[in-house]
């Protein structure tokens, strides 16, 4: 089984700062996403799974509709596998309702001026994200025991929590350490990959202009996100 730990907004500098040795593996670095006009989640994961720059195609759908994009397995490198399992990946198998709820709460947070209301929304938003994270973590750890030849688990917690809580370094560290523990559970040959990282905008977090990668078998230098389909198929 080849395993991909796909983590939204996993920030290179924080992986270093919090000494997440399992996320780092033997070789790790930044991905080059400079070919994209902005580090957008849906654009980057779509380009990852198809091996092609899908920015134009996704942006054409508009800010709201892009979240409904869903690629057929035949358009992705997952098609090379007999029994792939892809958990919650944007543009392929993600739970649209859950992520829509998160985006709604985020919108509500920035729409209100009331501090009290903001605190309440933040708590709901965080609780929602953590609950989803626990669910995905269970699914991922269970799937590793299955007989799939390919497994991808997409974890959005660092991105979702980061947007509203990036200034809370205790919370961010605890999340990174949890992701590191998940990486520790992977005994198979695997790649850790993020679409982009995150930088601080005051207490909040915004996407940074590079992603993170790590492997135990090869130094990939400064790969593009579209390079990974070939790299992963080459691992078969």
């Amino acid at each position: 089984m080849i395993v991909i730990l796909a983590i939204d907004a996993l920030e290179y500098t924080l992986v270093e700062k919090y000494q997440c040795e399992n996320l780092k593996q033997k070789y790790y670095g930044k991905t080059d996403i400079s070919e994209f006009s902005e580090p957008r989640t849906m654009v980057l994961w779509s380009s990852f799974m198809t091996g092609e720059n899908k920015e134009k195609e996704i942006l054409k759908l508009g800010d709201k509709e892009m979240w409904n994009a869903r690629f057929d397995i035949k358009e992705t490198f997952f098609y090379n596998f007999q029994s792939p399992k892809i958990i919650d990946l944007p543009g392929f198998s993600y739970d649209k309702k859950i992520h829509e709820e998160e985006r709604e709460l985020l919108k509500a947070y920035f729409s209100t001026d009331s501090t009290e209301e903001k605190n309440k929304i933040r708590n709901d938003y965080n609780a929602h994200a953590f609950s989803h994270h626990r669910e995905i973590k269970n699914q991922f750890l269970d799937a590793m025991k299955g007989d799939h030849d390919f497994l991808l688990g997409y974890f959005s917690i660092a991105d979702v929590i980061g947007h509203l809580n990036f200034g809370n370094s205790l919370m961010m560290k605890m999340i990174y350490k949890d992701l590191d523990e998940i990486a520790k559970e992977i005994k198979q040959n695997h790649i850790v990959l993020s679409d982009h990282g995150m930088k601080a905008i005051g207490q909040f977090g915004d996407h940074s202009e590079y992603g993170f990668w790590s492997t135990s078998f090869k130094d990939l230098n400064n790969p593009k996100i579209t390079d990974f389909s070939k790299i992963i198929v080459g691992m078969m």
Binding site: F130, H133, R134, K137, L170, M171, M174, D178
Partner: protein, 411 residues
């Protein structure tokens, strides 16, 4: 209740639960805000985990980063008996460096060992450093007992392994305590999980230790910084240890000339005495030759050493290695003399504690060495364990290239 404070360090393998123990000590003694504990607990709950006390340290780190806590390397808590200062030791090299250069002084130590993993190389290295620095009040804690179902046999086996090693390096631990820092067993309170253990908890063990004699009770060492001639001649300097008193009979070293303290002069006032750490001025009854770098001691005290050769442990921290016999500036309190490392008695890699071949006559970056130092002029030094202030020194002119501690004074 108050017996002052005791400074201690927690050492051991990086994964054996040091920060969890610190977090637990702070939590059980009510030394961190309850809201912070709640916040950590809530995030742990949200991640589907048990409370992790190790994150208490991160909260402190965060405060330090934001400048809320001024002190950058020390953490505080108190028991009914006294206050405690935990000295942060991020790694053993830093610990050794801090101890030698005087940045921190531990009076006691807790050596932590994971009950599942037992004694590791790093455990041994850290124990060796405690021995080198003469820290004799040592508690060994065998942590994570919960992971081995509080098994007595396993505990006894680790204890026996460790005692064999500690004996070799001359450490006799005061206590060996089975604990679970995560669950709290035998940290602040006893626990029914360990019915076979009848010794003290970690806090009880710490409370039984004796703080090092404060330097106020030690012999006087007044380091002369300068001499000013106003309407009267004022000898300015710093009380490094002991008490400086009006009318005290004093000896100026290294000359050995004797006189009396006529007055202790402070800005716009005179005073009767000056405590350790105090920079002050004094006038003498007789007009003697006094200069920067002299050390003033009490005339009744004969504990000082005026010497041109002494034994020391030095820690080299410069990329450029030292070659035996090269003249180098030594600074100890306000004394500055040229010196040479005459002999390397023992040379050791501070990371591995591997004893290196000292025949090459070279001391490299991060190597620790037992050496004989010869100075060009007489110098006043004390054994580091007796008076650290005049028992430690640095080498190098503009850049400090090494730190050292005096071992055994006069030869």
């Amino acid at each position: 209740m108050d017996e002052g404070y005791l400074k201690f360090v927690i050492v051991g393998h990086v994964d054996h639960g040091k920060s969890t123990l610190i977090g637990r000590l702070l939590y059980d003694t009510g030394s961190i805000p309850i809201e912070k504990v709640e916040e950590i607990k809530n995030i742990c709950d949200s991640l589907g985990k048990q409370m992790e006390f190790g994150y208490v340290m991160d909260h402190l780190e965060e405060e330090r980063e934001q400048g809320i806590t001024i002190e950058t390397t020390q953490t505080f808590f108190k028991t009914n008996k006294r206050n405690y200062v935990i000295i942060d030791a991020p790694g053993h090299v830093e610990f050794l460096k801090n101890m030698i250069t005087g940045a921190s002084q531990a009076e006691a130590a807790i050596l932590i060992i994971d009950a599942e993993e037992g004694v590791r190389e790093q455990t041994k290295r850290h124990a060796y450093i405690l021995s080198m620095l003469g820290i004799s009040q040592v508690i060994v804690v065998i942590n994570k007992m919960d992971l081995i179902s509080f098994d007595r046999e396993k505990f006894e086996s680790i204890k026996s392994d460790l005692l064999n090693f500690l004996k070799e390096i001359g450490i006799t631990p005061s206590y060996i305590i089975p604990i679970s820092a995560k669950e709290g067993d035998f940290v602040a309170s006893k626990s029914a999980n360990l019915p076979w253990y009848s010794g003290p908890t970690v806090l009880e063990a710490l409370d039984s230790f004796i703080p090092k004699e404060r330097s106020v009770k030690k012999p006087l060492r007044f380091a002369v910084q300068d001499v000013y001639n106003f309407d009267k001649r004022i000898v300015a300097g710093r009380v490094e240890s002991g008490l400086l008193k009006k009318d005290q009979s004093i000896t100026i070293l290294p000359s050995g000339e004797k006189t009396k303290v006529k007055s202790i002069e402070e800005f716009l006032k005179t005073t009767e005495e000056a405590e350790p750490g105090k920079s002050t001025g004094l006038t003498t009854l007789d007009k003697l030759f006094v200069d920067r770098g002299n050390i003033i001691v009490d005339s009744d005290d004969m504990s000082y050493n005026v010497t041109t050769r002494f034994r020391a442990s030095i820690f080299w921290m410069d990329k450029l290695p030292y070659k035996l016999g090269t003249p180098i500036l030594l600074r100890c309190a306000t004394q500055e003399v040229m010196c040479r490392v005459e002999t390397i008695l023992k040379l050791m890699d501070s990371s591995t504690l591997e004893v290196l071949v000292s025949d090459s006559g070279v001391i490299r970056n991060r190597e620790a060495a037992d050496v004989m130092i010869a100075t060009d002029k007489e110098i006043v030094v004390d054994d580091f364990l007796d008076i650290p202030e005049t028992g430690r020194f640095v080498l190098g002119k503009e850049v400090t290239v090494a730190g050292g501690i005096v071992k055994g004074g006069k030869i």
